[in-house]
């Protein structure tokens, strides 16, 4: 019997490990390295109504135990994502969580309505937290009532459960979490990246062409853990936790704080096999903790 399987709204997970949106493309590249069916789920790259070109380069900059990125939601648009990318992923026995982005409510609604009808899309991840686009993204994620309204609008048209991806770039993340719960969210994914900047040593100007970028990687893990910990206490919907996960122990930490599953982001760029490695190592950690099933770990910080 599996010790790692979990059920979340819309999702039958073989294990709690999934690559985070934006760090895994649409799976094609990693499919050359290992069997995607090993994964609990896949959060695909943000999809918008139209093709998006993204930001000028440089788009990434390394920082202490982390990196900044400002890709700018580059994606081929919903038609190609549905016609080509999701079709490709049908070859694998893995549920897809589609990350939905837009610049206004109507965009989100259109993408959500259409993409939620794809046979392998089992849940949506509403991206109200991208820090790298001028319009949309984070503006929906920093005001509770705006976040609630957008969640409700998407929920009304979606054929699958809706998770909302929260931004850490707010005064009180718990208020946003409660608002999206009130808007009908089936779950929360958290956290997106923290807005940051790195300067060029010689010129004193930002390294990233966009000026600012989103900070990710091990450096942000304590911030993410704290936020998952606080949000878990305040809401009754499940949390998929992320932010700096690189190993099986990090997964235990996030789930202890209250996450029901986790996503691995930046670590996929460093150790391209990190997801299957973590899945392999988790049972050993459960042994150490004298726990039979991973679900027993969820929220243990609070007990």
């Amino acid at each position: 019997m599996s010790r790692l399987n979990l059920q979340l709204p819309g999702l039958e997970l073989k294990n709690p490990i999934m690559p985070a949106s934006g760090c895994f493309g649409f799976g094609r590249e990693y499919a050359k390295l290992y069997d995607l069916s090993l994964l609990g789920a896949i959060m695909i790259k943000a999809t918008t109504v139209e093709t998006r070109k993204g930001n000028p380069t440089p788009r990434v900059a390394e920082t202490s135990a982390g990196m900044l990125n400002a890709i700018g939601l580059q994606n081929p648009g919903i038609e190609k994502v549905m016609g080509e990318e999701l079709k490709f992923l049908e070859d694998y026995d893995v549920p897809i969580i589609a990350n939905v982005a837009g610049t206004e409510v109507a965009d989100y609604v259109e993408v959500a309505e259409r993409i939620s009808k794809a046979s392998n899309v089992k849940a949506l991840e509403l991206n109200i937290s991208c820090p790298n686009v001028k319009c949309g993204g984070i503006q929906f994620g920093t005001d509770p009532s705006t976040a609630q309204q957008l969640t409700a609008a998407v929920k009304a048209v979606s054929s699958v459960p809706v998770y909302v991806k929260l931004s850490p770039n707010v005064t009180n993340i718990v208020d946003i979490a409660k608002a999206v719960e009130a808007g009908g969210a089936d779950g929360i994914t958290m956290i997106n990246t923290l807005v940051g900047m790195r300067l060029d040593e010689r010129t004193g100007k930002p390294v990233i062409a966009n000026g600012t970028g989103g900070l990710s990687g091990p450096a942000i893990k304590p911030v993410a853990i704290r936020m998952v910990y606080d949000v878990y206490k305040a809401v009754n919907i499940p949390i998929i936790g992320m932010g700096g996960i690189t190993c099986a122990q990090d997964v235990i930490d996030f789930m202890s704080a209250g996450a029901s599953a986790v996503a691995v982001g930046t670590a996929n760029f460093v150790d391209h096999f990190v997801c299957p490695t973590i899945i392999e190592e988790l049972p050993g950690l459960l042994d150490v903790l004298q726990v039979e099933h991973i679900s027993e770990i969820i929220g243990r910080s609070h007990r």
């Binding site: 760090c23 493309g25 590249e29 380069t57 788009r59 990434v60 202490s64 135990a65 990196m67 760029f269």
Partner: protein
């Protein structure tokens, strides 16, 4: 096939000011072609976090060894330069699409143009072109004599000309200054180096078939993260290309320079 492998350091040698030659041994050597690159984890901690893309300068499949030449300039490459014989380095590769050796027919002549740390991949390319019966002419540009390397290695493969910005070695000026002087006769060109050099080369030989290798900041190195995208020229079928997985080598005229 792309592998992630713990490779063994066979030799680490400084060959010019801040320029290091590192020879590693491991199975992934078997799949290497000239112009491809490897993505190297220089430390096993989070400092620095990301891998470093480094080109392949020399491949020895019989010994299961390859050599990379890199400039120890930033945090990561300086750390890499501390590795000694017998130590282990985590390498992902080989990555990307290399130079099409078959674009030059036996009996033809290829012009290989390199700039600075763009020179190394041309060495393995030249070896393979020569093995195929293609004559090679090398024009190599550097800042100054103290950062020049591989003179002998290139000379045994074909005519080799140097250009340095300060005139301390070869012709004073740029690779184009050498073109003006030598007026090389060739059928196809291959190049790797800084953007201004690639731009000058494309403009200099508009009628010739040519292949250019690009450099860009990378994240994942396999095409998933969209960090290293480049705009393409108007007539190209796609709006953008990814340097890591669509390149790093492109036929001339694909990437907007």
């Amino acid at each position: 096939m792309i592998r992630q492998e713990k490779m063994t350091v066979i030799l680490q040698k400084q060959i010019a000011t801040n320029i290091f030659e590192l020879t590693l041994q491991g199975q992934l050597v078997q799949d290497m072609t000239p112009g491809q690159f490897v993505h190297v984890k220089v430390s096993d901690t989070f400092e620095p976090l990301l891998r470093r893309p480094i080109s392949i300068a020399n491949v020895n499949k019989e010994k299961n060894q390859f050599t990379m030449i890199y400039r120890a300039e930033g945090r990561g490459t300086k750390f890499l330069a501390t590795n000694r014989e017998g130590q282990i380095v985590d390498v992902l590769g080989p990555l990307g699409n290399g130079f099409p050796v078959e674009a030059a027919e036996p009996g033809q002549t290829a012009l290989l143009v390199g700039g600075g740390i763009g020179v190394p991949p041309l060495h393995e390319l030249s070896k393979q072109l020569n093995a195929r019966g293609v004559k090679t002419i090398h024009v190599l540009g550097f800042q100054s004599e103290d950062v020049c390397f591989y003179e002998e290695q290139f000379k045994v493969l074909g005519d080799t000309y140097f250009a340095t910005v300060d005139g301390t070695k070869g012709t004073k000026g740029f690779v184009t200054t050498v073109f003006d002087q030598v007026k090389p006769e060739f059928d196809v060109f291959y190049s790797c180096g800084p953007l201004p050099m690639l731009r000058a080369l494309e403009a200099y030989y508009p009628e010739k078939e040519g292949y250019l290798s690009f450099e860009e900041r990378m994240g994942c190195g396999i095409g998933a993260c969209f960090a290293c995208v480049c705009d393409t020229t108007e007539n190209y079928e796609k709006d953008y290309v990814k340097v890591c997985s669509d390149g790093p080598v492109f036929p001339k005229g694909v990437v907007a320079l």
